[in-house]
């Protein structure tokens, strides 16, 4: 969080055409079961996501959208293919290295929020910062700042159970941003929200996009997909459509700033 009102800092800004994609998959596969029960959740997908792009992944239920997102986030292991994040291969990393990656380079937003029930909104946001080694004071300051940006400064001490669905999702987005990640991965972020809350979240995503935050959003909701720079569609685990929308995508940022999570 910066003092200029943007939700993200410079390292997540769009990169130049020569810098390569911030997120890349080549021949990516995830297969469950074997023999007659074999399911190809993700089947040989090739995909590049440039820095600063907002990518919407759509498709019917069970087409492999969420699995793809989990593979990008190191929450699941591919059974084939390769993944690069910020130019570094991550598909072969161990759990420990993946944890470091999630701590510093990735932010997650889930349909079910996945907030800690016993922690207040501010404490939920502080948690990733503390895990990343920030001092309690720094974590507290960052959480307070970002809560203000998502419009929940007055809800800092509230438990998730005392917040509406939209407020909970805003807390989850704030938590995803607190360590200034390279990429924010959002899985059906509006799936559990009513229209008004969905509108709030879309407005927040719009601000992220404008600030140059790379964002991958898995969604059923066409309104969400329509706000993206690019929409890819999956069916039976394969990529069947890739559409670029004219939503003003264009600014760039140097790749070097994207690699600051390494080490």
């Amino acid at each position: 969080m910066t003092g200029d009102g943007r939700l993200v800092r410079g390292r997540s800004r769009r990169q130049g055409a020569d810098d390569g994609p911030v997120l890349r998959a080549a021949g990516l596969s995830r297969v469950y079961g074997r023999g007659e029960t074999l399911v190809r959740a993700v089947d040989e997908i090739d995909l590049d996501v440039p820095a600063g792009q907002t990518l919407a992944v759509t498709g019917p239920s069970g087409c492999g959208k969420s699995t793809l997102l989990q593979l990008f986030g190191g929450l699941d292991r591919p059974t084939g293919g390769k993944i690069w994040l910020g130019g570094r291969r991550i598909d072969h990393l161990g759990e420990r290295a993946l944890a470091g990656l999630r701590r510093r380079a990735l932010g997650f937003v889930f349909q079910d929020f996945h907030l800690m029930d016993e922690l207040s909104a501010a404490e939920n946001i502080e948690l990733p910062a503390l895990l990343a080694g920030a001092s309690p004071r720094t974590a507290r300051d960052r959480a307070a700042g970002i809560l203000g940006r998502v419009g929940l400064a007055d809800r800092a001490r509230h438990l998730p159970s005392e917040l509406s669905g939209g407020q909970r999702q805003r807390v989850a987005i704030a938590r995803a941003l607190v360590n200034e990640p390279l990429v924010v991965l959002a899985d059906e972020p509006t799936g559990n929200l009513d229209s008004a809350a969905t509108h709030d979240i879309l407005r927040l995503f719009g601000e992220l996009r404008a600030a140059g935050q790379t964002l991958v959003v898995v969604t059923h909701d066409e309104r969400v997909a329509a706000t993206a720079d690019r929409v890819v569609s999956l069916r039976d685990g394969t990529l069947v459509d890739d559409t670029r929308l004219d939503n003003g995508f264009g600014d760039t940022a140097p790749l070097g700033s994207l690699l600051s999570w390494e080490g």
């Binding site: 989990q70 986030g73 190191g74 929450l75 699941d76 292991r77 759990e95 420990r96 944890a99 470091g100 999630r102 701590r103 510093r104 997650f108 889930f110 079910d112 996945h114 907030l115 800690m116 029930d117 016993e118 922690l119 207040s120 404490e123 502080e126 948690l127 990733p128 503390l130 895990l131 990343a132 309690p136 974590a139 507290r140 438990l159 938590r175 360590n179």
Partner: protein, 593 residues
């Protein structure tokens, strides 16, 4: 009827779907009920054995022993004394040292007719009854020295072939069966029967006594008869002593007095361990039970039906486990509670008191472990039951703020404890139970190393002491096994319950090592005070039960403390590590616990 069928069907299906959980449940409750029924049955087993032997051998209600050279006068007066229903002829007896297989032992030598006596007819279990030149040895005495029919024993320098082995309830079992020692303190010894002629020939210069075994018209009140009717002025000039059947039974029971408390206390400790197992099991099942309650309510079941269905899942296996435990305890009791081979050992049915106590224990164990979650699921509204997590979490803002200063693993571990304080309590109870028993075992070993368990060095007492040691070891092994199972299960269920929180934490960047350390921290934090209280507690408990107990060396206590904590840590780390090795994504998708 339909409702009962529904309850039965749902409970049976649940058991069939989760055989592992049902097996764990059975093991925990069976171990606790078996140990308790064993403990309660030991006293009963000695009584049953004594009564069977007394009945089979026409055992006396009271025995008069006199040093009078001519006991006929006492016998005549006894015959005329009111309350005497039958009496044996005076039995010539003396105390001797007998040579058996190269060793020697004290024994009474009794001269008996070859014809059976009216009172005290020893039951020959091997060989035949006395004959001229042949000896019969009391079975417990013979077994300790390895004497068999056909061997020979030496009395007063003469060898007597062993004609038979017999049992009798007239005296206590070996080594308390030598009643021929006359006035003054008595020593331990066995019991040998010869013909009266052979006994008289073998007496040499030993002091002679005569025993007169009596049956009374009121066999339950021999002390009252002795104090009121057979008063000193009715005994004549010579020394006369009496022993009633209750003192014989008491002496037999005393032989195993150290076994019973071990088993009873072990039973209750096992019950505590079983509560931990069941509570952990209920915690793991809570989410499922909660959802099941919600679904039942959604189709019209009331809170009572829901509670009945959920409780039936636990009470049905409890009934089976209680039956198993009672049977196992009752069958094992005679073997463990048999003070000597001198009694007829038979398996008797458990007493009503034992059945009630064991049923009560099993029910308490199950209800203590499961009633809370069941009632919570039954009472919560349908919508909430379907939507909410089964366990409400506890918020502690101050602790959360303080833990922010801790390293990541400790931060997560302490917050896990704060999140589920009930689980920490479970860990503490389980660890305290194992620590108590380990410390009691150490105290027993220290005491046994100091002297023999009963303070006596007879071969018979050594055998009894060894049996007590086996019982203590057996209970400890059972408790250690159940506690180890608990540690693994509680650790695993902690991981299952915390999987959502830990999966979120891992998603936010915690490493598998930090997650494992956090879970170990969450287990060890309550385990440390439990061990620190349990080890001295176990020593104190043993000291309370055995006045001669010796405190184990500090080094033993330290090793035990560290050993228990290491075991808790390792047994938690293994399932936690297995859990943390898997990617975080699937756990995130799993139902929140």
């Amino acid at each position: 009827m339909g409702r009962l069928l529904l309850v039965w069907r749902l409970a049976a299906r649940d058991l069939r779907r989760r055989p592992g959980e049902a097996a764990l449940f059975l093991v925990a409750v069976t171990a606790a009920t078996a140990a308790l029924s064993l403990g309660l049955a030991t006293g009963n087993a000695v009584t049953t054995g004594f009564e069977k032997t007394r009945e089979a051998t026409a055992g006396p209600d009271i025995t008069a022993i006199t040093t009078a050279s001519d006991p006929s006068d006492l016998a005549r007066r006894l015959a005329k004394t009111p309350g005497v229903a039958a009496q044996s002829d005076p039995i010539f007896a003396f105390d001797a040292t007998v040579g058996l297989h190269g060793t020697s032992a004290h024994t009474s030598v009794e001269g008996r007719d070859t014809a059976p006596s009216t009172v005290d007819r020893p039951l020959v279990t091997d060989g035949s009854w006395v004959r001229p030149g042949g000896a019969v040895i009391e079975r417990g005495f013979a077994e300790v020295f390895g004497v068999r029919v056909g061997d020979s024993v030496t009395i007063g320098g003469r060898d007597y072939p062993v004609a038979g082995i017999a049992i009798s309830a007239a005296t206590p079992v070996y080594p308390w069966s030598d009643w021929a020692q006359g006035p003054g303190p008595t020593d331990r010894g066995g019991r040998i029967w010869l013909t009266t002629a052979d006994a008289r020939a073998a007496v040499s210069d030993a002091s002679v006594v005569h025993l007169i075994h009596l049956k009374l018209s009121d066999p339950d009140a021999p002390v009252h008869w002795r104090d009121t009717v057979f008063a000193p002025d009715n005994r004549g000039e010579a020394w006369v002593n009496t022993h009633n059947w209750q003192t014989v039974l008491q002496a037999d029971t005393n032989m195993i007095r150290d076994t019973r408390p071990t088993l009873v206390i072990g039973g209750w400790l096992l019950a505590a361990a079983a509560i931990v197992t069941l509570a952990a099991l209920a915690a793991v099942r809570a989410t499922r039970d909660n959802r099941r309650a919600g679904l039942l309510k959604a189709v019209g079941a009331g809170p009572r039906t829901v509670a009945a269905v959920l409780l039936a899942q636990y009470l049905l296996p409890t009934a089976v486990a209680t039956a198993l435990g009672l049977t196992a305890g009752t069958l094992a009791a005679p073997g463990l509670a048999n003070p000597s081979a001198g009694l007829l050992v038979t398996v008797g049915p458990p007493t009503t008191g034992t059945v009630v106590a064991v049923l009560l224990l099993a029910t308490l164990v199950v209800l203590a472990g499961t009633l809370g979650p069941v009632l919570r699921a039954a009472r919560t509204s349908t919508v909430h039951t379907l939507a909410e997590p089964a366990h409400p979490v506890t918020r502690r803002p101050r602790l959360t703020a303080v833990t922010a200063y801790l390293p990541t693993a400790l931060l997560v571990g302490v917050r896990l404890v704060a999140r589920r304080p009930g689980r920490a309590g479970l860990t503490a109870i389980g660890t305290a139970a194992i620590s108590l028993m380990v410390a009691a075992l150490l105290a027993y070993r220290a005491t046994a190393g100091h002297d023999t368990g009963t303070g006596l060095s007879d071969p018979a007492m050594a055998a009894v002491n060894a049996r007590i040691g086996e019982v203590v070891l057996g209970v400890t092994v059972a408790l250690v096994a159940l506690s180890a199972l608990n540690a693994v299960f509680v650790g695993w269920s902690s991981a299952v319950q915390a999987r959502h929180a830990l999966a979120v934490t891992r998603t936010l960047g915690a490493t598998p090592g930090q997650v494992v350390t956090a879970l170990c921290t969450a287990q060890l934090l309550p385990a440390v005070p439990a061990v620190l209280a349990g080890i001295p507690g176990g020593i104190a408990l043993y000291g309370f039960l055995d006045a001669k107990s010796v405190t184990p060396p500090a080094s033993w206590q330290l090793i035990a403390t560290l050993g228990v904590l290491l075991a808790v840590g390792v047994l938690t780390a293994l399932p936690a590590w297995a859990h943390a090795r898997r990617p975080a994504g699937p756990a995130l998708g799993a139902e929140a616990a």
